[in-house]
């Protein structure tokens, strides 16, 4: 945990702290009299959610669920909320985003870069992916999977966490930005009422921005093949999997950025849009309310769709 800028009462400069959670660099920038009190709580919240939403950690209830052999499993409140929301978003995206992608990730050794499964293994793993087979019971806060299924909520967890932090900001009367590895949430405005200026990274030139947007109480989440990948035997594999094939999605997109009021939704939708590609993703975007989507195609062209 790093305190980069000390905060005093009524100062117009933000307090900024960074930390590593959910396998990424997180940056909390807060304006307000209670910013000093807020930021340690942000670290605490991130550590808690990191532990709860990582299916690889044996202490998490998602790990227990994945090893329950189809038995009902009680989840902690966050794991249940994420899984329930993920199933709703899976339905909304026709399964292009699916929280039961766990078997596919396992086949790829959690994308360690050391394992490339053969086609039959990918197909076998993909056959286990279906959010429709997940049973949820809100009263007991429990879930049950079909035999062989496992969940992995990495494609929505950072968004969910960002939303939780935004709530903390509001509870403390603070405005600012939350940056969880490029998942951006803006809370309110800067002192003086100006919106936050958020850049969208150019997927072809990592040090450059494609464009900038002014955001107030909005989120921006990007998915792109350039973010995490590895090369083996001359073939480059990226980390966004197509639930229907069990392999990295063959998308015509270089990146897709979703703007929405809710970061968890933006997070899941950006994954789904990438998997679907520009045509089907664009068609889906037109049916969803409250979002704007920036598609950057592999050929360098850019299109924008607003619902």
């Amino acid at each position: 945990m790093l305190l980069l800028v000390p905060m005093g009462c009524k100062r117009r400069e933000p307090s900024v702290q960074t930390g590593f959670y959910m396998d990424t660099l997180c940056r909390f920038t807060a304006y307000g009299d209670e910013a000093d009190a807020l930021l340690p709580l942000c670290h605490q919240k991130m550590a808690e959610l990191d532990a709860r939403l990582d299916h690889r950690q044996e202490t998490s209830t998602l790990y227990t669920l994945n090893h329950s052999n189809g038995a009902w499993t009680t989840l902690d409140p966050d794991a249940y909320a994420v899984l329930a929301l993920a199933c709703v978003l899976a339905e909304e995206t026709g399964g292009a985003f699916d929280p039961t992608i766990g078997a596919v990730l396992s086949a790829w050794d959690d994308f360690s870069g050391k394992v490339v499964p053969v086609d039959a293994e990918c197909e076998a793993a993909a056959s286990l992916v279906s959010y429709r087979l997940v049973e949820l019971d809100e009263t007991s806060r429990s879930a049950r999977l079909a035999a062989g299924q496992s969940v992995a909520v990495g494609a929505i967890a950072k968004g969910y966490a960002a939303d939780a932090l935004a709530e903390l900001y509001r509870d403390h009367g603070c405005t600012g930005t939350i940056d969880l590895g490029g998942n951006i949430v803006t809370v309110g405005t800067k002192p003086g009422g100006t919106a936050f200026l958020i850049g969208v990274q150019d997927p072809f030139h990592g040090s450059s921005l494609l464009t900038t947007v002014s955001l107030t109480d909005r989120c921006a989440v990007t998915s792109g093949a350039y973010q995490r990948n590895f090369t083996q035997d001359g073939v480059t594999y990226h980390h966004i999997f197509d639930p229907t094939t069990g392999k990295p999605a063959k998308s015509d997109l270089a990146s897709v950025t979703v703007f929405a009021d809710n970061a968890a939704r933006a997070d899941a939708l950006s994954t789904a849009m990438f998997v679907l590609g520009s045509d089907r993703g664009g068609a889906l975007a037109k049916t969803l309310s409250g979002i704007s989507v920036l598609f950057v195609l592999q050929d360098g062209s850019v299109t924008e769709v607003s619902a």
Binding site: L197, G199, D202, T211, V213, V221, T222, L294
Partner: protein, 114 residues
């Protein structure tokens, strides 16, 4: 009926601009500070125009001619050695929990989605 939001106009403007030529903002301002942090500790802060080599346990960070790069990484993938740190784009070595950021008052960007 969708609500008209500022974002729509901004993005439409950006798309028009992109049709005329890609917006490439190389943000490497002169008056900027390089900050190297590792797992809770600030290891180095210095002017971007001052050449410097910072050795950490797992990485080497090189500041030369206004460019900031990670030139050594003992982790398996070495992903952090691609590209350079700018005011809008930190370099991160996740295995070593190292971040390299460029802080500039000239750059008014509040965050970057990637």
């Amino acid at each position: 009926m969708k609500k008209p939001v500022t974002l729509d106009y901004v993005i439409v403007g950006a798309v028009i601009a992109l049709s005329l030529g890609s917006i490439l903002l190389f943000v490497r301002p002169n008056g900027a500070t390089v900050r190297v942090e590792s797992d809770g500790k600030t290891l180095y802060t210095g002017d971007i125009q001052t050449d410097h080599v910072i050795e950490t346990e797992g990485n080497t960070v090189t500041v030369r001619d206004g460019h900031v790069t990670i030139t050594r990484a003992d982790c398996p993938d070495g992903l952090c050695m691609h590209g350079e740190a700018t005011a809008t784009h930190p370099l991160v070595c996740l295995p070593n929990r190292l971040s390299v950021t460029v802080v500039s008052e000239e750059v008014t960007i509040d965050g970057v989605t990637y």
